[in-house]
């Protein structure tokens, strides 16, 4: 039963990992940009939530309504003013600049919030649980996280699959120059993609901050898990990203069941195994995203 419990916890944790991974995968898909500051943006969002909780008295879940639009706006501006200038010159300039962001964000957070661990307190929901019978219980909050992750993925899938802007995302991903010749303004489009990416990772960061403690330096781990989830699932597939997150989550909780120190390591080992056996990911990428 304890094993089953670990698997259930792992699946729910996987939802959170999928949230981290989705934004990363989205912008890589649309504009071939690797955002090394992705994890740090999530932690930045968590700290913004801390501020809005302290200053405005919002509950952490309500702070989503404030932090998510702010992060989306910041993503749009960042892309338009800076990152767009780096595109079309290969992958390296963007890697270097976003690595720079990562350093800057971490140091700014250290300066403002000190090296202390922080946590967002949602007022009880994080410890409430739902008994499933047979001694099995799941926390309401992990369940909520998973549900939000699935809902966001469904919404994103519909957006990319059914709307004109979503079509333009896919077209720009195939061939940005031809998309421009059909009337797509790539610079604006990339701004929207980054806005969407940071909005999603802001949700992930705030849910993370409710689930566990975080500090200024928590970002790079998140980035690593996001990469692992994307690669396990297979690049370019949203559902693959969810499965990748779940595989990673289950591996971590099962590993931690064996010995508390082994959780993260087991996750990495499963990731390496997938990389060895199915380098394209479990959901071998078809060109279409549906």
């Amino acid at each position: 039963m304890a094993w089953l419990d670990s698997i259930v916890q792992g699946i729910l944790l996987g939802g959170l990992y999928a949230l981290f991974a989705t934004g990363l995968s989205l912008i890589f898909g649309v504009m071939r940009l690797v955002n090394l500051a992705h994890g740090d943006f999530s932690i930045l969002a968590a700290f913004l939530a801390v501020v809005s909780v302290q200053q405005l008295g919002l509950s952490p879940l309500l702070s989503l309504a404030l932090v998510v639009p702010v992060m989306a706006g910041a993503g749009y501006v960042l892309q338009r003013l800076l990152l767009n200038r780096l595109l079309g010159r290969g992958i390296l300039p963007a890697v270097l600049v976003t690595f720079g962001f990562s350093v800057v964000i971490q140091n700014a957070l250290l300066e403002i919030f000190s090296a202390d661990s922080h946590r967002l307190d949602p007022g009880g929901i994080e410890t409430a649980s739902l008994a499933l019978g047979g001694g099995l219980a799941v926390g309401w909050f992990p369940l909520l996280t998973f549900a939000v992750a699935v809902l966001l993925l469904v919404a994103l899938q519909l957006f990319i699959g059914r709307t004109a802007v979503g079509r333009a995302f896919r077209a720009a991903s195939d061939d940005g120059e031809t998309a421009a010749l059909m009337g797509v303004d790539n610079r604006t489009l990339y701004g929207l993609a980054m806005a969407l990416s940071l909005a999603i990772v802001a949700v992930a960061g705030i849910f993370l901050g409710i689930r566990t403690t975080f500090a200024f330096s928590s970002g790079p781990d998140r980035l690593l898990y996001a990469f692992e989830a994307v690669i396990i699932g297979g690049l370019g597939s949203l559902w693959g990203t969810l499965v990748g997150g779940v595989v990673l989550g289950v591996a971590q909780t099962l590993g931690a069941r064996v010995s508390p120190g082994w959780g993260v390591l087991t996750g990495h080992l499963v990731f390496l195994a997938v990389l060895l056996l199915r380098p394209a990911g479990l959901f071998a990428p078809s060109r279409r995203q549906d």
């Binding site: 079509r167 333009a168 077209a171 421009a180 010749l181 059909m182 797509v184 303004d185 790539n186």
Partner: protein
Amino acid sequence: MSLLRVRELSVFYGNFQALFGVSLDVRERETVAVIGANGAGKTTLLRALAGALPVAREAVEFDGRALGGHPAHALVELGIVLVPEGRKIFPSLSVEENLLLGRYRERPGAWTLERVYQLFPRLVERCHQPGTNLSGGAQQMLAIGRGLMANPRLLLVDEISLGLAPLIVKDLYRVLQTVRSEGTTLLIVEQDVSQVLAFAERVVCLRKGAVALEGEPARLTREQISAAYFGA
């Protein structure tokens, strides 16, 4: 009056100059063909006019406005649309989605999804398949249809006969005839000289990035054309 006025257009790829002061005019509702050997600069000319290559502001005038250097999407908004060489169908998009992308800027006009399907009935039954699953000829139809969805005033058409059977090429030119009868101005780049001489009202021959000959097909002799084409 000229709808499109090109004056002293020069285009560089880094240090390499592809066009040397090209000038030409296309009147409203006119069909002009650009011919020339491989590497003469035909595709470069169309891509420069569509905003895919950097050009000087004064070099291109459209409907009385200097538009050189405008980005491609802004030119689509004004009605300059390119059907690119090699079709460039988006593999992630279905046939219908490829067409719908053509109307991304939502320019008003006569062309709708229904009318494009009327023009290319072959696309209807395969509308949910990936665009790149189609045969070469059907992909070319899709590329033209996608361009028409933007409701162009000036349609730039690059080498639609490339690699296609003569019968299909004939079909495609019948379609262009329909497009022309709607009042759309056409600037066509073509390797198949005999095909295009029968179709265009005026022909411009490029050689080594410059205009070597210009005139109405009926008034040009075969010798004049081949001299301009190959160099005397």
